[in-house]
Amino acid sequence: MNYEIVLWSLISIPAISGLICIFAPSPKFALGIMCAGVFSAALLGLLAIEAVLLQGKILFAAADWLFMDALSAYNLFVMIIVFCLSSLYACIYFHEELLHNNLTLKQLRQFTSLWCGALAAMTLVLLSNNLGIMWVGIEATTLITAFLICIHVSRKSLEAMWKYILICSVGVAFAFMGTLLAAASAKGVGWGSYNALLWTTLRTNAISLNPMLIKAAFIFLLVGYGTKAGLAPLHSWLPDAHSQAPAPVSAIFSGFMLNAALYCIMRYVPIVETATGNTGWGLQFLVGFGIFSIVIAAAFIIFQKDVKRLLAYHSIEHLGIIALGFGLGGLGTFAALFHTFNHSLCKTLSFFAAGRLGQIFGGHDMENMSGSLPVSPVWGIGIFCSLLALIGIAPFSLFMSEFQLIKAAVDSQAWIVLSLFLLGAGIVFVGALGHAIPLAWGTNQKSYTPVTATYFEAFLVFAPLAVLLVLGLWMPKTFFTALNSAANIIGIVGSVAPSGVGR
């Protein structure tokens, strides 16, 4: 099988369907093309992921500029799930808006084409072996998704979009400075221009990089990509953008875009660790950012009034947890990768529910939405259960990954980190539960007629919940092996397979 073509089409199929969507003659056509593009890319993606994660290949394309190893395959898997679910949900969500004449064909064209473009850009980030192209991909996601926030142009959405584009562009510019410094650190080694930015080359020869320059590079990269990943204190754009964007967009923001930025940092971690002599110099920053994000998010979660802002702060908390896991290393890396999947799936579901309930109640203010369970049983269960899962209630898999993280912290005897994490998680638990219970069973001032949900909507709620529940109780062997091989790429120091394997 020719995987070179597969990797190319993973990027080009969504890009082409995005272009077609610009000229869509009707809303149905636009949504249809969007779904067709997303699902055909997803199928091809699963094919490549199967080859990488189950057969242990490393795929290369475009003269080694594109590649897929276990880490990118795992992240691609998470992305495919988030995008497929969100695309299906977008059809329901925008169908509702079309029924109420809240949406024009022009807006829908804009949405569908940008949506496919965002998928192409994020795939480019995950597949690029060239760190410069990876940066181009991240910046492209910023620019493409900016207009997704203000599909409905209003004062609030414009404000959110301006903050998003300015803060993220500046942040990502810092990451570019970091990329340049990383390339400069390889200057003395004497590679040609071709190799200086290739991840596989840098990874294999990390020991010969200039440690001073690679340290400076990592600081810039952490601040830059950290801004895009929403790590506190660089998170100020995140609650605004998440709360103002339409629900499907919030779902991909939270479900995958933040992870994509964190993925870029993760690519640099093994390089920096090897170049600085495996002293944990880079990891300590990840721990610091992680803990700070958890504590800051915990403090803000208590006082939230808007359900989408509440979920946005949950994203900051969980990205903090993932960064903390990576920073702890060892079992922590495994836990962080597992948590990535759990959080993405759960957060996607919770934004679905929040968006749909927002349509039913006419706003995202939690006070006006109280007592949602009797009004819309399906989406009420969706928001309530996903909030429970997000705060780490036991049978759900988020509990399991957080538990593994605690074990990793105990193993490395990071007691201060552990106590701060438990403090933050405790505050979040109490704070979010205080929001979730009235949201489900509270008494509402106004009376709403109960809304029935289709089987399709019920599927979108119960399928993710079932997966989260099953993964919390039992992890399939293949999933475990896949997680392990992805974790090994970041964790264990050594050389990767030489380029050209698996062609």
């Binding site: 404000e159 584009i165 071709y194 605004d240």
Partner: protein, 215 residues
Amino acid sequence: MDSTIEIMMILLLLSDMALLGLSRLRTCISIVSFQGMLLGLLALVTQLGSLTPRLIMIAAASFIIKGFVFPILLRRGIREAGTQHEIEPFVGYITSVIAGLAMLGVSLWLGTKLPLFAAGSGTSLIVPAALTTLFTGLFLIIARKNALNQCLGYIIMENGIYTFGIVSVVEIPLLVELGILLDVFVAVFVMGIAIYHINREFDHLDSDRLNVLKG
């Protein structure tokens, strides 16, 4: 050749200081356009001995985009919005220039810390100048309220990084370099559209009055 680069770096530093001290948006745009052309030339001057088509292409692209396309876009923004001056910035102009000098000091210190060039190669001003330009852009984004000024700050910041890129890493592949240029171009373009919408919706461009979303 080194002295030409030195002069260019001094011009870059002077233009940074001017940008910090001026309030008229039109003049600021002209200076940023001058910076863009300067950097386009810098790419050629640093490699005068070994000019390749690749290098000329990059230099020409950035010369045209930064020197002409951005200014046209921004001037149109001014016309649409009808603003000429920054009104009451967060940080006054004299204070800004003093801050600029402080940033220059920090950059000179950082330049000695980063082992990018062999000692005595005569181009010791490049890294400080690049970092000062980067910090100037960042400072303008934070210290000015007008959305157009923030957009200018972003371009200046990018100029700083570009300077750094030319001299520290000569060998970035063409495709990557073009991708980066395209991204910056689209970024400014997207900001331009955003400014247009903000102006239409709010009737002003003061980003500190975009303050409904909190907490």
